[in-house]
Amino acid sequence: MLSEVAFWGLAALAVAGGVMVFRFDSMARATFALLTSLLCVGGEVLLLGLDYLGIVIVLMMTIEMAIMAVFMIMYMMNPAGLTPMTMMHNKQGATAICAAAFVLLAAGILSTPWPARRGKPPTDATMDLGMSLMGPQMLTMMTLGMALFATIVATVVLATRRGRYDRLGDSLRAPSTDDPIRGGVGR
Protein backbone atom coordinates (compact mmCIF):
# COMPACT_ATOMS: atom_id res chain seq x y z
CA MET A 1 0.00 0.00 0.00
CA LEU A 2 2.65 2.50 1.06
CA SER A 3 4.88 1.53 -1.84
CA GLU A 4 1.97 1.94 -4.25
CA VAL A 5 1.34 5.45 -2.95
CA ALA A 6 5.04 6.21 -3.31
CA PHE A 7 5.09 4.74 -6.81
CA TRP A 8 2.18 6.82 -8.10
CA GLY A 9 3.32 9.93 -6.24
CA LEU A 10 6.80 9.73 -7.73
CA ALA A 11 5.39 8.88 -11.17
CA ALA A 12 3.08 11.91 -11.12
CA LEU A 13 5.91 14.16 -9.92
CA ALA A 14 8.26 12.79 -12.60
CA VAL A 15 5.75 13.50 -15.38
CA ALA A 16 4.89 16.91 -13.94
CA GLY A 17 8.61 17.77 -13.79
CA GLY A 18 9.00 16.65 -17.39
CA VAL A 19 6.11 18.85 -18.49
CA MET A 20 7.44 21.83 -16.56
CA VAL A 21 10.76 21.59 -18.43
CA PHE A 22 8.84 22.88 -21.45
CA ARG A 23 6.62 25.29 -19.55
CA PHE A 24 9.29 27.28 -17.71
CA ASP A 25 10.83 30.18 -19.57
CA SER A 26 14.05 30.14 -17.53
CA MET A 27 16.98 27.90 -18.34
CA ALA A 28 17.74 27.30 -14.66
CA ARG A 29 14.16 26.37 -13.79
CA ALA A 30 13.95 24.05 -16.78
CA THR A 31 17.20 22.37 -15.71
CA PHE A 32 16.00 21.76 -12.19
CA ALA A 33 12.54 20.67 -13.31
CA LEU A 34 14.33 18.04 -15.37
CA LEU A 35 16.45 17.11 -12.35
CA THR A 36 13.30 16.74 -10.23
CA SER A 37 11.86 14.44 -12.85
CA LEU A 38 15.00 12.32 -13.04
CA LEU A 39 15.34 12.11 -9.24
CA CYS A 40 11.78 10.77 -9.12
CA VAL A 41 12.77 8.13 -11.68
CA GLY A 42 15.68 7.24 -9.37
CA GLY A 43 13.14 6.91 -6.57
CA GLU A 44 11.05 4.54 -8.70
CA VAL A 45 14.09 2.36 -9.33
CA LEU A 46 14.74 2.33 -5.55
CA LEU A 47 11.14 1.20 -5.06
CA LEU A 48 11.79 -1.71 -7.42
CA GLY A 49 14.41 -2.89 -4.94
CA LEU A 50 17.37 -1.97 -7.13
CA ASP A 51 19.10 0.13 -4.48
CA TYR A 52 22.40 0.55 -6.23
CA LEU A 53 20.94 1.59 -9.58
CA GLY A 54 18.50 3.97 -7.90
CA ILE A 55 21.18 5.74 -5.86
CA VAL A 56 23.53 5.88 -8.84
CA ILE A 57 20.77 7.53 -10.89
CA VAL A 58 20.38 10.17 -8.17
CA LEU A 59 24.16 10.71 -8.06
CA MET A 60 24.73 10.83 -11.81
CA MET A 61 21.71 12.98 -12.63
CA THR A 62 22.53 15.56 -9.93
CA ILE A 63 26.08 15.95 -11.17
CA GLU A 64 24.91 15.86 -14.77
CA MET A 65 22.48 18.73 -14.25
CA ALA A 66 25.16 20.72 -12.41
CA ILE A 67 27.48 20.19 -15.35
CA MET A 68 24.66 21.27 -17.63
CA ALA A 69 24.78 24.60 -15.79
CA VAL A 70 28.48 24.80 -16.68
CA PHE A 71 27.64 24.16 -20.33
CA MET A 72 25.08 26.92 -20.00
CA ILE A 73 27.81 29.53 -19.60
CA MET A 74 29.90 27.90 -22.30
CA TYR A 75 27.35 27.84 -25.09
CA MET A 76 24.23 29.85 -24.31
CA MET A 77 23.49 33.26 -25.71
CA ASN A 78 22.44 34.49 -22.28
CA PRO A 79 24.84 32.63 -20.00
CA ALA A 80 23.10 33.48 -16.78
CA GLY A 81 19.74 32.51 -18.25
CA LEU A 82 18.30 35.75 -16.97
CA THR A 83 16.22 36.64 -20.01
CA PRO A 84 13.21 34.50 -20.87
CA MET A 85 13.84 31.70 -23.31
CA THR A 86 12.07 28.60 -24.46
CA MET A 87 13.22 25.02 -24.57
CA MET A 88 11.07 24.38 -27.63
CA HIS A 89 12.24 24.42 -31.21
CA ASN A 90 10.02 23.01 -33.95
CA LYS A 91 7.01 22.75 -31.66
CA GLN A 92 4.70 20.66 -33.84
CA GLY A 93 7.40 18.22 -34.89
CA ALA A 94 8.63 17.73 -31.32
CA THR A 95 5.09 17.23 -30.02
CA ALA A 96 4.36 14.65 -32.70
CA ILE A 97 7.60 12.74 -32.08
CA CYS A 98 7.10 12.75 -28.29
CA ALA A 99 3.48 11.60 -28.54
CA ALA A 100 4.39 8.86 -31.01
CA ALA A 101 7.28 7.64 -28.85
CA PHE A 102 5.07 7.62 -25.74
CA VAL A 103 2.27 5.70 -27.49
CA LEU A 104 4.74 3.22 -28.94
CA LEU A 105 6.43 2.54 -25.59
CA ALA A 106 3.15 2.37 -23.65
CA ALA A 107 1.64 0.01 -26.25
CA GLY A 108 4.75 -2.15 -26.07
CA ILE A 109 4.63 -2.32 -22.29
CA LEU A 110 0.91 -3.12 -22.20
CA SER A 111 0.83 -5.64 -25.03
CA THR A 112 3.96 -7.63 -24.12
CA PRO A 113 3.10 -11.00 -22.54
CA TRP A 114 5.39 -10.57 -19.53
CA PRO A 115 6.63 -13.91 -18.17
CA ALA A 116 5.87 -14.87 -14.59
CA ARG A 117 8.78 -14.70 -12.16
CA ARG A 118 10.92 -17.79 -12.06
CA GLY A 119 13.24 -18.27 -9.12
CA LYS A 120 13.70 -15.76 -6.29
CA PRO A 121 15.01 -12.20 -6.24
CA PRO A 122 18.72 -12.19 -5.38
CA THR A 123 19.72 -11.48 -1.79
CA ASP A 124 22.35 -9.01 -2.94
CA ALA A 125 21.17 -7.33 -6.14
CA THR A 126 24.23 -5.06 -6.28
CA MET A 127 26.57 -8.06 -6.24
CA ASP A 128 24.59 -9.80 -9.00
CA LEU A 129 24.53 -6.64 -11.09
CA GLY A 130 28.29 -6.25 -10.73
CA MET A 131 28.91 -9.90 -11.57
CA SER A 132 26.74 -9.77 -14.68
CA LEU A 133 28.29 -6.49 -15.85
CA MET A 134 31.88 -7.33 -15.07
CA GLY A 135 31.69 -11.08 -15.65
CA PRO A 136 30.38 -12.20 -19.05
CA GLN A 137 29.95 -8.61 -20.28
CA MET A 138 33.43 -7.41 -19.31
CA LEU A 139 34.57 -6.92 -22.90
CA THR A 140 31.42 -4.97 -23.78
CA MET A 141 31.84 -2.73 -20.75
CA MET A 142 35.52 -2.09 -21.49
CA THR A 143 34.75 -1.23 -25.11
CA LEU A 144 31.86 0.97 -24.03
CA GLY A 145 34.10 2.74 -21.52
CA MET A 146 36.74 3.45 -24.14
CA ALA A 147 34.11 4.63 -26.62
CA LEU A 148 32.60 6.99 -24.05
CA PHE A 149 36.01 8.32 -23.09
CA ALA A 150 36.94 8.87 -26.73
CA THR A 151 33.65 10.75 -27.17
CA ILE A 152 34.44 12.99 -24.22
CA VAL A 153 37.90 13.78 -25.58
CA ALA A 154 36.51 14.41 -29.06
CA THR A 155 33.81 16.71 -27.67
CA VAL A 156 36.32 18.76 -25.72
CA VAL A 157 38.57 19.01 -28.78
CA LEU A 158 35.60 20.15 -30.85
CA ALA A 159 34.41 22.59 -28.20
CA THR A 160 37.69 24.24 -27.43
CA ARG A 161 38.81 27.77 -28.11
CA ARG A 162 36.90 29.08 -31.10
CA GLY A 163 33.21 28.75 -31.85
CA ARG A 164 30.79 29.93 -34.50
CA TYR A 165 30.52 33.39 -32.99
CA ASP A 166 34.24 33.95 -33.50
CA ARG A 167 33.93 32.84 -37.08
CA LEU A 168 30.66 34.48 -38.13
CA GLY A 169 30.31 37.46 -35.79
CA ASP A 170 27.93 38.04 -32.90
CA SER A 171 24.81 37.75 -35.05
CA LEU A 172 26.18 34.87 -37.15
CA ARG A 173 25.70 37.01 -40.28
CA ALA A 174 29.24 37.82 -41.39
CA PRO A 175 29.58 37.42 -45.18
CA SER A 176 32.69 35.26 -44.81
CA THR A 177 34.09 33.33 -41.86
CA ASP A 178 36.93 34.79 -39.84
CA ASP A 179 39.42 31.97 -39.37
CA PRO A 180 43.05 32.29 -38.32
CA ILE A 181 43.87 29.31 -40.50
CA ARG A 182 42.36 28.88 -43.94
CA GLY A 183 40.41 25.82 -44.87
CA GLY A 184 38.03 23.71 -42.83
CA VAL A 185 34.28 23.39 -42.69
CA GLY A 186 32.10 26.24 -43.94
CA ARG A 187 34.28 27.44 -46.77
Binding site: S26, A28, R29, F32, L35, D51, Y52, I55, V56, V58, L59, T62, I63, M65, A66, I67, A69, V70, I73, A80, G81, L82, D124, T126
Partner: protein, 253 residues
Amino acid sequence: MQQRRRTTAADVALTRLGVVLLPVAALLAAAVVPLGFRSVSDLADGIVWFNAMEALAWAAVWLAGWGPNSTLALIGGYRFLAQGLAYELPHMLAITTAALGAESLRVGEVVDTQAGLWFAVWMPVAFAIYLLSAMAMAFWGPFDQPAGRDVAGGAAAELSGVDRIVFLGGRWLLLTVAAAFSVPLFLGGGNGPLLPPWLWTVLKTVAVLAFLVWIRRKVPTLRMDRYMEVAWVVLTPLAILQALVVALVVLVR
Protein backbone atom coordinates in the same frame (compact mmCIF):
# COMPACT_ATOMS: atom_id res chain seq x y z
CA MET B 1 15.43 38.96 13.16
CA GLN B 2 16.81 40.70 10.12
CA GLN B 3 14.69 41.42 7.02
CA ARG B 4 15.63 39.50 3.91
CA ARG B 5 17.54 41.49 1.36
CA ARG B 6 15.72 41.77 -1.96
CA THR B 7 17.33 41.94 -5.38
CA THR B 8 15.79 42.92 -8.70
CA ALA B 9 14.32 40.13 -10.84
CA ALA B 10 15.51 37.47 -8.40
CA ASP B 11 14.35 33.89 -8.78
CA VAL B 12 13.16 33.61 -5.20
CA ALA B 13 11.90 30.03 -5.49
CA LEU B 14 15.22 28.69 -6.75
CA THR B 15 17.19 30.67 -4.15
CA ARG B 16 15.10 29.24 -1.33
CA LEU B 17 15.45 25.76 -2.79
CA GLY B 18 19.23 26.08 -2.89
CA VAL B 19 19.42 27.51 0.63
CA VAL B 20 17.29 24.75 2.14
CA LEU B 21 18.85 21.98 0.06
CA LEU B 22 22.33 22.47 1.54
CA PRO B 23 21.51 21.43 5.16
CA VAL B 24 19.01 18.84 3.90
CA ALA B 25 21.70 17.23 1.74
CA ALA B 26 24.07 17.19 4.73
CA LEU B 27 21.42 15.57 6.97
CA LEU B 28 20.51 12.95 4.35
CA ALA B 29 24.20 12.12 3.94
CA ALA B 30 24.47 11.78 7.73
CA ALA B 31 21.85 8.99 7.67
CA VAL B 32 24.50 6.40 6.83
CA VAL B 33 27.16 7.71 9.24
CA PRO B 34 27.27 5.37 12.25
CA LEU B 35 27.54 6.61 15.82
CA GLY B 36 29.48 3.77 17.37
CA PHE B 37 28.20 0.84 15.33
CA ARG B 38 24.67 2.09 14.76
CA SER B 39 23.46 4.48 12.07
CA VAL B 40 20.01 5.77 11.13
CA SER B 41 20.05 3.41 8.17
CA ASP B 42 22.90 1.07 7.32
CA LEU B 43 22.03 0.87 3.62
CA ALA B 44 23.56 -1.88 1.49
CA ASP B 45 24.98 0.87 -0.73
CA GLY B 46 25.68 3.40 2.00
CA ILE B 47 28.89 4.73 0.48
CA VAL B 48 27.17 5.49 -2.84
CA TRP B 49 24.31 7.08 -0.91
CA PHE B 50 26.70 9.42 0.88
CA ASN B 51 28.28 10.36 -2.42
CA ALA B 52 24.89 11.04 -4.04
CA MET B 53 23.67 13.21 -1.17
CA GLU B 54 26.88 15.17 -1.04
CA ALA B 55 26.51 15.81 -4.80
CA LEU B 56 23.19 17.54 -4.03
CA ALA B 57 25.32 20.30 -2.48
CA TRP B 58 26.51 21.14 -6.00
CA ALA B 59 22.96 21.90 -7.01
CA ALA B 60 22.30 23.73 -3.72
CA VAL B 61 25.25 26.13 -3.92
CA TRP B 62 24.72 26.84 -7.60
CA LEU B 63 21.03 27.57 -7.02
CA ALA B 64 21.76 29.85 -4.08
CA GLY B 65 24.32 31.67 -6.21
CA TRP B 66 22.20 31.90 -9.34
CA GLY B 67 18.87 32.75 -7.79
CA PRO B 68 19.41 36.31 -6.48
CA ASN B 69 20.30 37.66 -9.98
CA SER B 70 23.49 39.18 -8.62
CA THR B 71 26.88 39.05 -10.30
CA LEU B 72 29.04 38.17 -7.32
CA ALA B 73 26.66 35.49 -6.09
CA LEU B 74 26.54 34.01 -9.59
CA ILE B 75 30.34 33.93 -9.75
CA GLY B 76 30.39 32.13 -6.39
CA GLY B 77 27.88 29.54 -7.60
CA TYR B 78 29.87 28.79 -10.72
CA ARG B 79 33.10 28.66 -8.75
CA PHE B 80 31.63 25.86 -6.68
CA LEU B 81 30.72 23.87 -9.78
CA ALA B 82 34.28 24.25 -11.07
CA GLN B 83 35.57 23.19 -7.66
CA GLY B 84 33.20 20.24 -7.66
CA LEU B 85 34.55 19.06 -11.00
CA ALA B 86 38.05 19.34 -9.56
CA TYR B 87 37.54 17.45 -6.31
CA GLU B 88 34.94 14.85 -7.26
CA LEU B 89 37.07 12.50 -9.34
CA PRO B 90 39.83 11.77 -6.77
CA HIS B 91 37.16 11.89 -4.03
CA MET B 92 35.09 9.13 -5.63
CA LEU B 93 38.21 7.03 -6.12
CA ALA B 94 39.18 7.56 -2.46
CA ILE B 95 35.85 6.39 -1.04
CA THR B 96 35.77 3.55 -3.56
CA THR B 97 39.15 2.46 -2.23
CA ALA B 98 37.73 2.18 1.28
CA ALA B 99 34.82 0.13 -0.08
CA LEU B 100 37.29 -2.03 -1.96
CA GLY B 101 39.29 -2.69 1.22
CA ALA B 102 36.14 -3.97 2.93
CA GLU B 103 34.76 -5.61 -0.24
CA SER B 104 31.44 -3.98 0.56
CA LEU B 105 29.56 -0.75 -0.06
CA ARG B 106 27.88 -1.10 3.36
CA VAL B 107 29.36 1.35 5.85
CA GLY B 108 28.85 -1.12 8.71
CA GLU B 109 31.02 -3.72 7.01
CA VAL B 110 33.70 -1.13 6.28
CA VAL B 111 33.81 -0.45 10.03
CA ASP B 112 33.87 -4.16 10.91
CA THR B 113 36.81 -4.76 8.58
CA GLN B 114 38.80 -2.17 10.53
CA ALA B 115 38.53 -3.98 13.86
CA GLY B 116 42.26 -4.66 13.54
CA LEU B 117 44.06 -2.21 11.29
CA TRP B 118 42.58 1.17 10.38
CA PHE B 119 42.25 1.92 6.69
CA ALA B 120 44.00 5.26 7.28
CA VAL B 121 47.16 3.28 8.10
CA TRP B 122 47.35 1.20 4.95
CA MET B 123 45.49 3.57 2.59
CA PRO B 124 47.09 6.88 3.60
CA VAL B 125 46.77 8.42 0.13
CA ALA B 126 43.04 7.74 -0.05
CA PHE B 127 42.61 9.18 3.46
CA ALA B 128 44.53 12.35 2.60
CA ILE B 129 42.53 12.82 -0.60
CA TYR B 130 39.31 12.30 1.36
CA LEU B 131 40.28 15.02 3.84
CA LEU B 132 41.03 17.42 0.96
CA SER B 133 37.69 16.73 -0.67
CA ALA B 134 35.88 17.01 2.66
CA MET B 135 37.07 20.61 2.82
CA ALA B 136 36.34 21.18 -0.87
CA MET B 137 32.76 19.88 -0.68
CA ALA B 138 31.99 22.21 2.22
CA PHE B 139 33.89 25.04 0.43
CA TRP B 140 35.91 25.41 3.55
CA GLY B 141 39.42 26.59 4.46
CA PRO B 142 41.72 26.64 1.43
CA PHE B 143 38.72 25.87 -0.78
CA ASP B 144 36.51 28.76 0.35
CA GLN B 145 36.55 30.65 -2.95
CA PRO B 146 32.90 29.89 -3.83
CA ALA B 147 32.02 31.96 -0.77
CA GLY B 148 35.25 33.95 -0.83
CA ARG B 149 35.88 37.43 0.50
CA ASP B 150 37.19 38.54 -2.90
CA VAL B 151 33.64 38.24 -4.27
CA ALA B 152 31.96 39.66 -1.17
CA GLY B 153 30.80 36.27 0.08
CA GLY B 154 30.20 34.65 -3.32
CA ALA B 155 27.25 32.29 -3.33
CA ALA B 156 26.17 33.70 0.04
CA ALA B 157 26.66 37.34 -0.99
CA GLU B 158 22.97 38.24 -1.27
CA LEU B 159 21.70 35.93 1.45
CA SER B 160 20.49 37.64 4.60
CA GLY B 161 18.41 36.91 7.67
CA VAL B 162 17.14 33.38 8.01
CA ASP B 163 18.40 32.40 4.54
CA ARG B 164 21.93 33.23 5.55
CA ILE B 165 21.94 31.27 8.77
CA VAL B 166 20.35 28.23 7.09
CA PHE B 167 22.82 28.30 4.21
CA LEU B 168 25.99 28.93 6.22
CA GLY B 169 24.77 26.57 8.94
CA GLY B 170 24.23 23.98 6.23
CA ARG B 171 27.81 24.49 5.16
CA TRP B 172 29.01 23.83 8.71
CA LEU B 173 26.78 20.80 8.87
CA LEU B 174 28.22 19.48 5.61
CA LEU B 175 31.76 19.95 6.88
CA THR B 176 30.91 18.15 10.12
CA VAL B 177 29.20 15.28 8.32
CA ALA B 178 32.11 14.96 5.89
CA ALA B 179 34.52 14.85 8.84
CA ALA B 180 32.29 12.33 10.63
CA PHE B 181 32.16 10.07 7.57
CA SER B 182 35.96 9.84 7.49
CA VAL B 183 35.75 8.00 10.84
CA PRO B 184 33.88 4.87 9.63
CA LEU B 185 35.70 4.99 6.28
CA PHE B 186 39.30 5.33 7.41
CA LEU B 187 39.61 5.64 11.21
CA GLY B 188 38.03 2.43 12.42
CA GLY B 189 34.59 3.83 13.30
CA GLY B 190 33.61 2.92 16.84
CA ASN B 191 36.50 0.49 17.28
CA GLY B 192 38.81 1.34 20.19
CA PRO B 193 39.84 0.16 23.65
CA LEU B 194 38.18 0.99 27.00
CA LEU B 195 35.75 3.72 25.96
CA PRO B 196 32.28 2.92 24.53
CA PRO B 197 32.00 2.88 20.69
CA TRP B 198 29.85 6.03 20.43
CA LEU B 199 32.41 7.99 22.42
CA TRP B 200 35.21 6.78 20.14
CA THR B 201 33.22 7.95 17.12
CA VAL B 202 32.64 11.35 18.69
CA LEU B 203 36.28 11.73 19.75
CA LYS B 204 37.61 10.77 16.32
CA THR B 205 35.12 13.08 14.58
CA VAL B 206 36.11 15.96 16.83
CA ALA B 207 39.78 15.27 16.11
CA VAL B 208 39.24 15.29 12.32
CA LEU B 209 37.06 18.40 12.54
CA ALA B 210 39.63 20.16 14.71
CA PHE B 211 42.28 19.31 12.13
CA LEU B 212 40.16 20.75 9.31
CA VAL B 213 39.49 23.92 11.29
CA TRP B 214 43.19 24.23 12.12
CA ILE B 215 44.14 23.83 8.42
CA ARG B 216 41.92 26.80 7.61
CA ARG B 217 44.21 29.05 9.65
CA LYS B 218 47.40 27.59 8.20
CA VAL B 219 46.81 27.28 4.47
CA PRO B 220 45.96 30.20 2.16
CA THR B 221 43.01 30.06 -0.22
CA LEU B 222 43.56 27.90 -3.27
CA ARG B 223 42.04 28.84 -6.62
CA MET B 224 39.88 26.06 -8.00
CA ASP B 225 41.40 26.22 -11.47
CA ARG B 226 44.78 25.51 -9.94
CA TYR B 227 43.37 22.75 -7.76
CA MET B 228 41.74 21.32 -10.88
CA GLU B 229 45.13 20.68 -12.41
CA VAL B 230 46.53 19.18 -9.22
CA ALA B 231 43.42 17.05 -8.77
CA TRP B 232 43.31 15.64 -12.26
CA VAL B 233 47.00 15.36 -13.05
CA VAL B 234 48.41 14.38 -9.64
CA LEU B 235 45.68 13.24 -7.23
CA THR B 236 43.62 11.12 -9.64
CA PRO B 237 46.57 8.94 -10.75
CA LEU B 238 47.69 8.67 -7.11
CA ALA B 239 44.19 7.60 -6.09
CA ILE B 240 44.11 5.00 -8.87
CA LEU B 241 47.48 3.65 -7.75
CA GLN B 242 46.21 3.47 -4.17
CA ALA B 243 43.13 1.59 -5.35
CA LEU B 244 45.37 -0.78 -7.31
CA VAL B 245 47.50 -1.52 -4.23
CA VAL B 246 44.39 -2.13 -2.12
CA ALA B 247 42.88 -4.35 -4.84
CA LEU B 248 46.04 -6.45 -4.92
CA VAL B 249 46.11 -6.77 -1.12
CA VAL B 250 42.43 -7.80 -1.12
CA LEU B 251 43.05 -10.38 -3.85
CA VAL B 252 46.04 -11.91 -2.05
CA ARG B 253 44.43 -11.80 1.41
